[in-house]
């Protein structure tokens, strides 16, 4: 019996080998590492060390040593909510008008939240993307100009890499320009963190940047990520997109970044996020980060090679159209992701046929009942509803084997042929008589 082949690693990356083993051992031995870090006794102290090490590890990935700047959350969704809602609330408390700026291809964790905040009085600018999925930078800076003209405090929320298409905005020059033109509040890391000096350095900042790096962490080159996050005020992260467990994420927020807790009820996370922390998740994430820290370059090379192989081979299947292809004709920046549709294979049939054959890929986004809705990302890129609905995303993972990629390619071509043949005959099954007169 063949195992299902999992090519949906952007939804959730399977736990890395080291994570599986490490967690299993810790659970089976009832390790004190999984205790409550708030406890004062020896076990609590051990658990606390896991959290300290996790923060230090995360700090290396996003280029920040100040590990108390991480607020651990239940995932990137909570981290983004914390940033956006906290920002708006703090601006309100400061008697300032809040303005939110986000691209139309952000994750719904961002889009739904900024819309909710708009409902509560925040201004909102949604910035369009082009057919490739690249940000309309003119519109983005126009929104910042408007914020300046209207004396708003603005928070720009931008993803580092898109979860559906794998497209990365060209953020480095963009953030440099934000810093240059909309300074002077840009924060410089300071050694002396006395309240007074910090206050002087940051005032009067009026533009903040929140990066959604959930999908980029690990998969995108560390040094690139560090350069980006160095000029951001908030960064949202999570564990399960990089082979850690679900249920844990973090918001990195500069000490100067406005932040109001969403949850109260304890002193955890320096009162920024109450609730007993997820020790199992923290330990698992730490293990995943360790694996990426030592093997990351190899992982990324391997993902990129398989992406290229899929890109070349799928490109030869009649009717296949890739989304988010770079101007140089290269596959998307995120090294494990391809997004495509097949002409002549409408609706969700191809995803279903592949699933029935034991190949797990994803398509669009699921609604409450589990039916598929057209992808808002592809819709924002200008694709019609039919294509946004019939598109599929193929994402390899660290442990995806070349044999699995081969098997997928074979099944893909066969299913495409089956559906195209079926569609050619579909008219036979239409009712002969039209409905009510």
């Amino acid at each position: 019996m063949r195992r299902a082949i999992y090519l949906d690693c952007n939804a959730s990356h399977p736990l890395l080998e080291g994570v599986r083993k490490g967690l299993a051992d810790a659970i089976l031995q009832s390790s004190p590492l999984l205790g409550n870090p708030s406890s004062i006794h020896a076990d609590g102290q051990q658990a606390k060390r896991v959290f300290a090490e996790l923060r230090t590890s995360l700090g290396r990935f996003v280029g920040r040593a100040e590990n108390d700047e991480f607020v651990l959350t239940s995932g990137a969704t909570e981290a983004l909510n914390l940033a956006v809602r906290g920002f708006v609330r703090s601006r309100r408390a400061a008697g300032r008008s809040a303005r939110l700026i986000a691209s139309t291809v952000e994750h719904s964790a961002v889009l739904d939240t900024v819309r909710a905040m708009q409902g509560e009085g925040a201004k909102l600018d949604l910035i369009a993307v082009d057919a490739r999925g690249a940000l309309d930078e003119a519109a983005f800076f126009a929104a910042l100009e408007a914020a300046r003209a209207e004396d708003d405090d603005a928070l720009a929320v931008l993803q580092v890499a898109n979860n559906e298409t794998g497209v990365a905005f060209d953020l480095e020059p963009l953030l440099a320009r934000v810093y240059r033109d909309f300074g002077p509040g840009r924060v410089v890391p300071v050694a002396n963190k006395s309240r007074k000096s910090r206050f002087q350095e940051t005032w009067p900042q009026s533009v903040w940047v929140c990066l959604d790096a959930a999908q980029a962490l690990g998969k995108l080159d560390d040094s690139k990520l560090r350069r980006l996050t160095g000029s951001a005020d908030y960064v949202a992260l999570c564990a399960h997109k990089m082979g850690g467990p679900t249920g844990i994420g973090a918001l990195w927020a500069r000490a100067s970044s406005p932040l109001e807790p969403l949850l109260t009820g304890g002193t955890q996370e320096r009162r920024r996020r109450a609730g007993t922390p997820n020790t199992l998740g923290a330990f698992g994430w730490l293990l995943a980060l360790r694996e990426w820290a030592s093997m990351g370059d190899g992982f990324r090379r391997k993902l990129r090679a398989q992406q290229r192989k899929l890109f070349d081979a799928l490109g030869k299947v009649p009717g296949v159209v890739f989304h988010g292809v770079g101007p140089d004709g290269a596959p998307p920046e995120l090294p494990n992701t391809l997004n495509l549709h097949v002409e002549g294979c409408p609706e969700e049939s191809l995803v279903l046929a592949l699933d029935l054959g034991g190949f797990l890929v994803s398509s669009g986004s699921a609604c409450n009942s589990g039916s598929l809705k057209p992808s808002h990302v592809l819709t924002a890129m200008g694709y019609p509803r039919e294509i946004a609905l019939s598109s599929l995303r193929v994402c390899v993972g660290v442990e995806t084997s070349d044999e699995e990629v081969e098997a997928f390619l074979e099944a893909f071509a066969a299913k495409v042929e089956q559906i195209r043949a079926a569609r050619a005959r579909a008219a036979e099954f239409l009712p002969v008589v039209e409905g009510s007169p």
Binding site: A4, S349, R423, F429, L430, V432, G435
Partner: protein
């Protein structure tokens, strides 16, 4: 790769290709429409037991997230129903998918429903849903997935007869027979269709559901129209139309006595007696005969008139059927004796049918029928065989001399083969 992750469908495939058991479904793949109800659940379980490679599919017709915070709206295809269907699929051990058919449903069923009411007709959205949404979608999806058949939990039977081709038969449980909703199926479609509960009675189906351990065994049947919250048609139509489409008008008698006004003909249906209070009072004031027992006997969409009359005016001797589909084609060049059903909840009645040159069919009843409702389907039968059907366009005035009598020696339906 996680070693605990196995192909969840591998065992189903293995069971169906076991050569030792010559099961009827061995090596055949079938897509079952799962509504969340007991009939489709048992259908899936029966097919699975018969060795088919079964795929469960639910069609989501309305975006119920709109209703999540209050009532889920209808009685079919709600989020709860989808979850029931999912649980049944897990229990039976088949893959299950929910497909979004909201757009098709909206234009093919909801718009039609609203328009029909605005035109003074009484639509039958369930027939329309079967014809234009459910079966269409299932056949297409089945072909895409390489399936040999589709199956539903309808109470009906299919067989292949040497002379007639594929035949649709009334179900064994004549109380539950649902061929009325299926008259639009074609030979090509029936060839690929299974109705696993058609030879069972409802109590038998419930008992089987219990034996299969299905959670929906006790679930009540759906009764209302699934997309109309609270079954309040008038309110639903108001939310889907502009005020200009909801023309007020007069309530009159056949003799042009004005009895009052109304807020739109869509609020009335043929045979209706409720909600006529003020008009009845007026009729009594005018001293009209039969003022006590007036009912809606006609709706005139052009003049926006609701016509009241005595109940005997509801009796009709004939009707005209348009957009006719024949599953097996009887020779109706000359009048033939058949049975017809003019609404889902009525008995088969004896009638004579004759096809007109333009493909419409004239139906004359042996006994007068009460409250014939344009917009409903008229389905033709020869005994238990469903011949096909169409939509009731209008009632037909039939002179007493032209009425078929019970003794008439008109031949029963013969078939063009």
């Amino acid at each position: 790769m996680d070693p605990t992750k196995k192909n969840p469908y591998a065992s189903a495939a293995a069971a169906s290709t076991n050569p030792k058991q010559a099961l009827p479904g061995a090596g055949k793949k079938v897509v079952v429409a799962m509504s969340g109800g007991v009939d489709s659940a048992v259908s899936a379980a029966i097919l699975k037991r018969q060795g088919y490679d079964v795929i469960g599919i639910a069609l989501q017709t309305t975006d119920y997230s709109k209703y999540l915070n209050n009532d889920s709206g209808g009685t079919c295809c709600s989020v709860k129903d989808m979850e029931d269907a999912r649980r049944v699929s897990e229990k039976v051990g088949i893959p299950f998918y929910v497909l979004d058919t909201e757009r098709t449903f909206d234009s093919a069923v909801v718009d039609y429903f609203v328009n029909d009411y605005l035109q003074g007709r009484t639509p039958n959205p369930c027939v329309m849903c079967n014809t234009k949404v459910k079966f269409n979608h299932l056949y297409r999806k089945a072909m895409d997935l390489g399936a040999d058949y589709i199956a539903t939990g309808h109470y009906a039977k299919v067989s292949k007869e040497p002379d007639l081709g594929y035949c649709l038969w009334r179900s064994t449980d004549s109380n539950k027979d649902q061929t009325y909703f299926l008259f639009n199926l074609t030979q090509r479609q029936l060839e690929r269709t299974l109705f696993p509960v058609g030879h069972l009675t409802k109590p038998e189906v419930r008992k089987l559901a219990e034996e299969f351990g299905l959670s929906v065994a006790e679930k009540p049947d759906s009764q209302e129209i699934c997309f109309v919250p609270g079954n309040d048609y008038a309110k639903f139509i108001e939310t889907r139309t502009a005020p200009s489409q909801r023309r007020p008008g007069h309530i009159v008698t056949a003799h042009k006595d004005v009895l009052g006004t109304h807020e739109g003909i869509f609020r009335y249906t043929i045979g209706q007696r409720k909600g006529l209070g003020a008009a009845l009072d007026r009729a009594k004031q005018l001293g009209l005969p039969d003022a006590e027992s007036l009912a809606v006997v006609k709706i005139d969409p052009i003049k926006a008139l609701v016509v009241l009359g005595p109940e005997r005016d509801l009796d009709q001797w004939g009707l005209l059927v348009t957009n006719v589909n024949f599953i097996v084609a009887p020779d109706l060049r000359m009048p033939r004796r058949i049975q017809v059903k003019v609404r889902y909840r009525s008995q088969l009645v004896e009638a004579e049918a004759k096809m007109l040159g333009d493909g419409r069919v004239e139906v004359r009843f042996v006994q007068p029928q009460r409250a014939i409702t344009p917009g409903q389907a008229c389905v033709f039968y020869d005994g238990n065989l469903c011949l096909g059907g169409g939509w009731i366009h209008e009632t037909l005035h039939v002179d007493a001399s032209d009425r078929p009598s019970a003794e008439d020696n008109i031949p029963a339906a013969a078939f063009r083969t």
